[in-house]
């Protein structure tokens, strides 16, 4: 559908919003949304509770086509849905299976693969991880070194992936591997599905600057992978890899996250005092908030324009890169202003505060604890999903004819 020059939600949209909201009210456990609100560490089960509820309702695969068990929602409905789940402080939908691998399988998988994997993604039976990056292959992903050697009925995989988000929870990992060792970068890459419990797969934690365990190294030593686990054609994995990345990017813009952070910022700026008066009355600080809100207002429309175009069948292309850049900068700006709004209250850091069930008195107001940590954690969003610099290269190359 196309957005007409009409920026109002229709009655139908509003009804849909209410349906989503009511459903969340009913099914999302309070204890879980409390944990999300407090930025407490989520267990694997926490993610699964919410995702299983979505499965039961038929809403998990909200961007898949209907015939595969998707919702068939239009762009506006998707936007409303995303906004409501974030407003309700639901855990995030772990994207690797449903948002990343799913679309690739639907487009390029065999019937057998679709029949086997898609239902397992829909039922959350499989937890997927993304095995793209390697120590030597970050921005230059095509220079990856993990090899898969053809041994007749199986591939023998050796190498190392890194930065694997939530890989410690995963049952399966989709990997880019080199199947033609002599081919130039970008050629000779294949897209392979690997069971994490195959002998020779080892997961090692990486602790990030905020002291948390979110990413991992995944090592492969003589790992046997059945040949039927290859997606699409051998040596053509780069095409599928790029197709997947465009889906990854739009999500990272995170407009609804920024909107919810903006509300949080306004709330905190009303409570924080500067010279005995609410900080929000400070003309300079409130101007900064206003400019952030203006950026966000425009970006929401930008985002809707892009997803609408995508819904019309145009693959999200250059716009998804632009949105990724602007979206991450705006989101990072919200975390920066939140940190500034707190003043010295941003300093105390109680790691135990992020454990489930922690109910001691915080140091300072209860909202202060996670803010600085979140600011540092969010530095990642301009690095991953294709760094912002790489997005700029893509846009410049694709659109300027220079």
């Amino acid at each position: 559908m196309v957005i007409k020059m009409n920026f109002e939600y229709s009655e139908k949209d509003e009804n849909f919003r209410k349906e989503v909201k009511d459903w969340l009210d009913e099914t999302l456990p309070k204890s879980l949304s409390e944990k999300v609100k407090k930025y407490q560490r989520l267990t694997k089960e926490d993610y699964e509770i919410f995702m299983n509820n979505l499965t039961a309702k038929g809403w998990l695969a909200w961007h898949w086509p209907k015939e595969y068990g998707g919702t068939g929602w239009n762009a506006i409905e998707k936007h409303i849905f995303e906004e409501e789940i974030i407003k309700a402080s639901a855990p995030r939908i772990v994207p690797f299976g449903v948002n990343m691998l799913g679309p690739v399988l639907i487009e390029f998988g065999t019937e057998e693969q679709k029949n086997y994997y898609l239902p397992r993604i829909l039922s959350n039976e499989d937890w997927w991880a993304q095995g793209y990056s390697e120590p030597g292959a970050g921005s230059d992903l095509a220079s990856l070194k993990t090899t898969a050697v053809d041994k007749g009925d199986h591939y023998l995989v050796n190498g190392q992936k890194t930065w694997t988000t939530l890989g410690h929870h995963a049952d399966k990992i989709f990997c880019l591997v080199k199947t033609d060792l002599n081919a130039k970068p970008q050629l000779g890459i294949s897209f392979l599905l690997i069971d994490m419990d195959t002998p020779g797969v080892e997961v090692k934690p990486i602790i990030t600057l905020d002291g948390e365990h979110e990413v991992n190294e995944v090592w492969f030593t003589n790992v046997k992978v059945p040949k039927k686990n290859i997606v699409g054609k051998e040596n053509e994995g780069w095409t599928y890899a790029k197709y997947l990345l465009t889906f990854e990017r739009t999500g990272i813009a995170g407009v609804p996250y920024s909107k919810s952070a903006l509300n949080h910022l306004k709330m905190i700026s009303k409570r924080s005092l500067k010279n005995g008066k609410p900080l929000i009355e400070d003309p300079i600080f409130s101007s900064e908030i206003a400019e952030l809100e203006i950026d966000l207002l425009a970006m929401e429309i930008f985002n809707l324009r892009t997803v609408s175009a995508a819904a019309e069948g145009k693959a999200p292309g250059m716009e998804s890169s632009l949105l990724k850049i602007k979206g991450t900068l705006v989101r990072q700006k919200t975390t920066e202003l939140l940190r500034k709004a707190l003043g010295p209250q941003a300093l105390p850091y109680l790691p135990e505060q992020f454990d489930e069930g922690w109910n001691e008195m915080p140091v300072g107001p209860s909202y202060a604890g996670p803010i600085a940590k979140q600011y540092f954690n969010m530095r990642k969003i301009s690095i991953y999903g294709g760094s912002n610099e790489i997005q700029k290269n893509i846009v410049a190359k694709a659109s300027f004819g220079l």
Binding site: S139, K340, Y349, L350, A372, R379, K380, S387
Partner: protein
């Protein structure tokens, strides 16, 4: 005008630099110090005293061997380069500044600080006073010739391990009045303490006083003057610390850009990256210049001192954010890890803007002072 360091100061810089490096060899060693019960190494603190590092922060008038703006900057630039967590700021700068600025300076206590035998923390911040010099809720009243203090002080650096505390408290007037403030010396064994680490690895404490007996050090105009001077000295020290951190961030990033290869060349070969390094470089030169100016006018009149310190601290806040964020971004994923030192430098650099006045506070103060 002379922009070079004297021979003596160069020697100080070299000796202290070597000494800091020998203890703070790497980020794991620092983490060890952070994780000690007091949140810092007592042994290193004592050695620093023996080497004269603390005395370099105090003027000869009060038993030290330094104490000028330049001395403070030299030492704190090195504190930044090593990310030292010892109580240089709390005890050696803030408290000794108060103790030397009161009408009857307390050389006895200052000498104990210099010798590493006594730790005194300065408890001025409160949960709601943000960065203000005079907004004070903690109160003090006189009963039977004794001062009694009630209230809670926040973010007191090294407030758990210090044996004495200098407390700012309101004797009369409204919470926001510029007069009616007192400074008191109290024993720390009777206070209620809640220690914690800050996100950048420094020990801080919430201290609560209930009818705690205190000795009056200064009151009214003199007290406020002392608080302002201590906070300004602290802001100068932190600015120099930030400068040291920025230089390390820059060096680490440049090294990495030379060694990290993507697309068949070092990522530093991309011009868009080079331009960003140039931006960082010139902003660091700006900070260096502002810190030099603020150091050189530290002993002049209060107005010039505070105006130049506010200029430096404002710039440090703005440039610090740039350097910390660019350091992480230009490294990519590696700088998001605990294991790599750049992450810790970036965290400290950002959090320095949450101590002794952020960039907004100092911009506002600069505006006031430069128009007065």
């Amino acid at each position: 005008m002379d922009f070079t360091l004297s021979e003596e100061r160069k020697m100080l810089q070299e000796t202290v630099g070597k000494f800091f490096n020998s203890n703070y060899k790497n980020i794991d060693k620092r983490s060890e110090n952070v994780n000690l019960p007091e949140g810092y190494s007592k042994e290193f603190w004592k050695e620093s005293s023996d080497l004269g590092v603390i005395s370099a922060l105090v003027s000869p008038k009060f038993g030290g061997l330094g104490g000028s703006g330049e001395d403070i900057s030299i030492i704190f630039e090195l504190v930044g380069k090593s990310l030292c967590v010892e109580p240089f700021l709390s005890s050696a700068v803030l408290s000794s500044t108060v103790l030397s600025s009161i009408s009857n300076p307390r050389n006895d206590l200052i000498t104990d600080i210099i010798e590493g035998n006594l730790l005194i923390s300065f408890a001025h911040c409160e949960m709601n006073n943000r960065y203000e010099d005079h907004y004070i809720e903690t109160n003090a009243y006189l009963k039977n010739d004794e001062w009694n203090i009630n209230g809670t002080k926040s973010f007191v650096m090294n407030g758990d391990d210090a044996s004495k505390i200098i407390v700012s408290a309101r004797i009369n007037g409204d919470v926001n009045d510029r007069h009616g403030i007192g400074l008191f010396l109290v024993d720390n064994d009777q206070t209620l303490k809640r220690p914690y680490n800050t996100i950048d690895g420094y020990r801080s404490t919430e201290l609560t006083f209930e009818d705690l007996k205190g000795e009056l050090l200064a009151k009214d105009e003199n007290a406020l003057k002392c608080i302002i001077k201590a906070n300004s000295a602290g802001a100068l020290a932190l600015s120099a610390e930030a400068l040291g951190i920025m230089q390390i961030c820059f060096d680490l990033t440049l090294d990495y850009l030379k060694t990290r290869k993507q697309f068949g060349k070092s990522i530093g070969a991309f011009q868009s990256i080079q331009h960003r390094m140039v931006d960082m470089m010139l902003e660091i030169e700006q900070v260096k210049s502002a810190v030099m100016l603020a150091s050189s006018t530290f002993e002049t009149d209060d107005l010039t001192r505070d105006k130049n310190i506010s200029a430096a601290k404002n710039l440090v806040g703005r440039v610090g954010k740039l350097i910390a964020e660019e350091t992480i971004q230009l490294h990519g994923g590696i700088a998001m890890t605990w294991e790599y030192s750049a992450a810790h430098y970036a965290k400290r650099l950002i959090m320095i803007d949450h101590l002794m006045g952020d960039s907004d506070y100092h911009r506002d103060r600069f505006k006031l002072l430069s128009n007065s």
